[in-house]
Symmetry: C2
Subunit: 279 residues, 2 copies
């Protein structure tokens, strides 16, 4: 049995930066340090941060003082304003690419476009983008949703940074059927596009794909979907413990990919476990 | 045998306007009246105009005086300037939708976009658009051509007004693979989109399609291609005389469509000839 891991697996730039900032902040700060929701969508890393004193709270009610680390997905500007008004120290760990998506959405709104965000309505990144664009935008997850919209003829588009390019293109195709003027910022981050393509390519060459990462991570679950859509047997797992020996039966080549918020040490543990089972 | 003609067959707005202007100019002008290339891409209408005194010349060399009717496809601004410098009276019969495509291309260039025109490089409309954008633009006819281009990341797109929407969308899809910012003006005229869709729909319901219009008309030949791509037997003809009785053998339903530059009287003659052959 051979195990093949995609190149560039593990933390993307934004996650690496956010995690580093959070550990540094925890190490150098006296008093309460917290995030609103998890810093990144990886429960194991969030647990390690908790061990270092970074608490996860769900809202600002009841929090009276301390340091708020703005998580990688960004934060709705209204909540940020509220946090500042309450006197919290702010450490901004928003991914720089997410910040770009926020500012492009705001620019499109200012230029008079009807703003469409390609992404998941419930995702904190999308809620932040909506906030920075001043609200009143459309969020679409798939081309079918576009057909139900009341669209204007002048439309501006940005994407959640971890969307799949093919879905983004399909949505643009639908918009082009009604828009006369369409201004698009492809804000899908480069690392996401490279990772998705490498994962798809690898899935076509192996008998089984294992996608390592948080079940609450949109980009991780999307990688799993890309592989299963390509008809390759695929499992999503958060840690090496979850590997079932029967998954590997009669498999000659196993591909491993991981979300942007999956740390290298978990990927290494998965590979080691696979190799020990094969021995 | 039943003959079905698409709704809205015949002259589009721009062709109707240009033709009316040309006949009026011929009727009210003393002296030489001419166009640079045919006014519209329909040889029969151009012959009628010639009978009324509108000459077709290929370039301005040797023309010393008179009235230049700018044809529906527009004119390169350098040539227009030359014509004005020579003291010609100018009657502008450029289609208003073509003028829009010209000004949007110029706007995109001014805003710093690399301008891509979806269209046929040799078509006078595209040459005019290129002129108004100040030159140095890319012209692509199909998605395969996009793959060969050296593209920047900030791209602006307009279309020749008679392009097919599906080809336009496919080209945008290719551009989206490299562009980070894409500003698109869908300058395909509404009448073209309606005509193409009606023609495609009809071609799926009949045994034979006849497309009536100039062989030198891009939009007419595109209608024929749409039908043959849908696997419906299709003939392109300029006049009723070209109909071959054997085309109709065993055919129950015959669809008729026509380019934007095909006059109603030719469509009527085609339908009458079909009905007489069926009787």
């Amino acid at each position: 049995m051979r195990v093949r891991v995609i190149e560039n697996a593990g933390f993307c730039f934004g996650v690496q930066r956010a995690t580093k900032l959070a550990f540094e902040t925890a190490a150098t700060t006296q008093g309460h340090v917290f995030t609103l929701g998890p810093l990144i969508h990886n429960p194991q890393v969030v647990q390690k941060l908790k061990d270092e004193g970074v608490e996860v709270v769900t809202d600002l009610n009841g929090v009276e003082e301390g340091t708020l680390i703005v998580r990688s997905h960004g934060l709705h500007p209204t909540i940020l304003k509220e946090a500042k008004a309450k006197g919290f120290r702010i450490v901004d760990a928003t991914c720089p690419f997410v910040k770009k998506a926020q500012s492009y959405a705001a620019l499109l709104k200012k230029e008079g476009y009807q703003v469409v965000v390609v992404g998941d309505r419930q995702h904190p990144e999308v809620q932040g983008i909506e906030g920075y664009s001043g609200g009143n935008i459309l969020v679409v997850a798939c081309p079918e949703e576009v057909k139900k919209l009341h669209l204007k003829t002048k439309i501006g588009v940005v994407a959640q940074t971890t969307q799949s390019l093919s879905n983004f293109i399909e949505i643009v195709d639908e918009l082009l059927k009604s828009a006369r003027e369409l201004k698009i910022f492809n804000t899908i981050c480069g690392a996401t596009m490279v990772r998705q393509k490498a994962t798809m390519d690898l899935s076509r060459q192996v008998d089984l794909m294992l996608i390592v990462g948080g079940r609450n991570s949109a980009n991780t679950t999307r990688l799993a979907k890309i592989c299963s859509d390509a008809d390759t047997p695929t499992y999503l797992l958060e840690t090496a413990d979850e590997i079932q020996p029967e998954w590997l039966k009669d498999k000659k080549e196993i591909g491993v990919s991981a979300g942007a918020s999956t740390p290298n040490w978990i990927i290494t543990e998965v590979v080691q476990k696979l190799e020990s089972l094969a021995a």
